[in-house]
């Protein structure tokens, strides 16, 4: 069996779920565990893990999809920049269909705006080299996993004197928004499945505050089906034993301190900044802004006219991102909002909670 087949082995899954049933069955209350990573959202839905859980274990999704949490005014600014002369906006593909106040980047491109989809921030840098007369603005979104790749592209631009490569800073970091989740009286979370690839960069130790300050356990978890169930089992065991520590299920990829070279690059170019999240509003210190020394690469200081920010009417994406409602509780879910014609951001991205439920678990009831 290949490694990848072993990480999806139905027998191993059955064994793990049997253990989980035993541990959770010994508790007198229901367990709610939250994942905060779009790749987990997708893995859970695709492998059908939610309906494999014992009835007393509930898996919910938090603000783990970077595209989904990017607020509408960021997209408004991106669209306004794309309309400027001699300006090209470069973006990861996921952002293309997310609605702004006036339409998506995809629609704007169809109407003639200069928007390019790139796979890597480096591709945007290449474009800047090829078109020295244009200003190339990269839409810098993504969590701790992605920020170092953007910092590396800026480092390369600095080293090679590529002055026409700019960022629209929108990167976000997990710790501060997780504090908001933990403090939310509408939400009762007994443990967190922690994001494996964020942790490749940060190291698992970054999440220590959850256990130390709040007494909530966390398990850094990989993305294969057995990884996720192992993570859930490890959380259930901690609750059953009355422990709260940060454990590392994804030891094959995640170390205590993470990727130090990535830390150095992020640190060189970025500093913590207040950042607006869809569903949460502005969370202090939850984003990354360019340091003053690199202001010449900051496209957010370019003057543009912005529309009044407008979210789609009736869309409950914000509450879905906070984990307080499941997608079927939104009146638009599968009723005017689906992956073909999405209304809200959580249905646009394949990692969005609404999209994952729609594609794989449409028949499940809220609260499952």
């Amino acid at each position: 069996m290949s490694d990848s087949a072993q990480y999806s082995d139905p027998r191993a899954l059955a064994g793990l779920i049997g253990q989980l049933r035993e541990v959770a069955g010994g508790l007198d209350h229901r367990l709610t565990f939250m994942e905060v990573c779009g790749t987990h959202t997708h893995s859970v839905a695709k492998a059908g893990l939610r309906r494999m859980m014992p009835p007393s274990v509930r898996l919910i999704s938090g603000p783990g999809c970077p595209v989904c949490v990017t607020p509408v005014d960021y997209l408004d600014r991106a669209l306004a920049l794309a309309a400027l002369p001699d300006t090209v906006v470069c973006t990861f593909g996921d952002l293309m269909r997310v609605p702004s106040s006036t339409g998506s980047l995809e629609q704007a491109r169809a109407e003639g705006a200069r928007v390019e989809v790139v796979y890597s921030p480096r591709d945007a840098l290449e474009l800047a080299r090829r078109r020295p007369q244009s200003r190339v603005v990269f839409l810098a979104v993504g969590f701790e996993t992605t920020a170092p790749t953007i910092a590396a592209a800026v480092a390369e631009a600095e080293a090679d004197g590529v002055t026409n490569f700019l960022l629209l800073p929108g990167n976000k970091t997990m710790p501060q928004v997780m504090r908001v989740l933990v403090d939310d009286p509408q939400l009762e979370v007994h443990g967190f499945l922690l994001p494996g690839h964020v942790s490749v960069i940060t190291g698992w130790r970054m999440f220590g505050f959850l256990a130390e300050e709040f007494g909530i356990p966390g398990v850094v978890t990989g993305f294969m089906p057995t990884d996720v169930v192992q993570g859930v089992l490890a959380l259930a065991r901690q609750v059953a034993q009355g422990h709260a520590t940060i454990a590392n299920q994804y030891g094959r990829a995640v170390t205590t301190a993470g990727n130090l070279q990535a830390h150095r690059l992020v640190e060189r170019f970025f500093e913590p900044a207040d950042s607006a999240w869809r569903g949460f509003g502005v969370v202090p210190g939850s984003g990354l802004g360019l340091r003053a020394a690199w202001a010449h690469r900051d496209a957010s200081s370019i003057r543009v006219d912005l529309p009044a920010p407008r979210e789609p009417a009736g869309c409950r994406c914000g509450e879905v991102l906070r984990g307080v409602v499941d997608p079927p509780e939104c009146p638009l879910f599968a009723n005017g909002c689906d992956p073909e014609l999405p209304v809200g951001a959580c249905m646009v991205s394949s990692e969005g909670t609404c999209s994952a439920w729609y594609r794989h678990e449409r028949w499940l009831e809220a609260g499952t």
């Binding site: 779009g38 999809c65 996921d94 890597s120 690839h197 490749v200 094959r252 990727n259 070279q261």
Partner: protein
């Protein structure tokens, strides 16, 4: 979006590497993992190697999974 794909490093120069998965090759930046060695499984995200997979840790996890699988009768 935090998807990272494990691929094997087959060639490298000072800053770039060629990685391979199932016969598909692509060039990635090694700026975030300057000490990557040929033959290592790297995690590739947005055109950059961001980390590596530890073979011993992976073997340990797989051994544990076999124990769980073997404990299941009749599937």
């Amino acid at each position: 979006m935090c998807l990272a794909i494990p691929m094997v490093l087959v060639e490298r120069s000072e800053f770039d590497g060629v990685v391979e998965l199932d016969g598909v090759r692509r060039t990635v930046s090694l700026m975030l993992l300057p000490d990557a060695r040929k033959g290592e499984q790297l995690l590739i995200h947005a055109g950059y190697a961001i980390g590596r997979l530890d073979a011993d840790e992976a073997a340990e996890t797989l051994a544990l999974l076999r124990e769980y699988a073997d404990a299941v009768v009749g599937l």
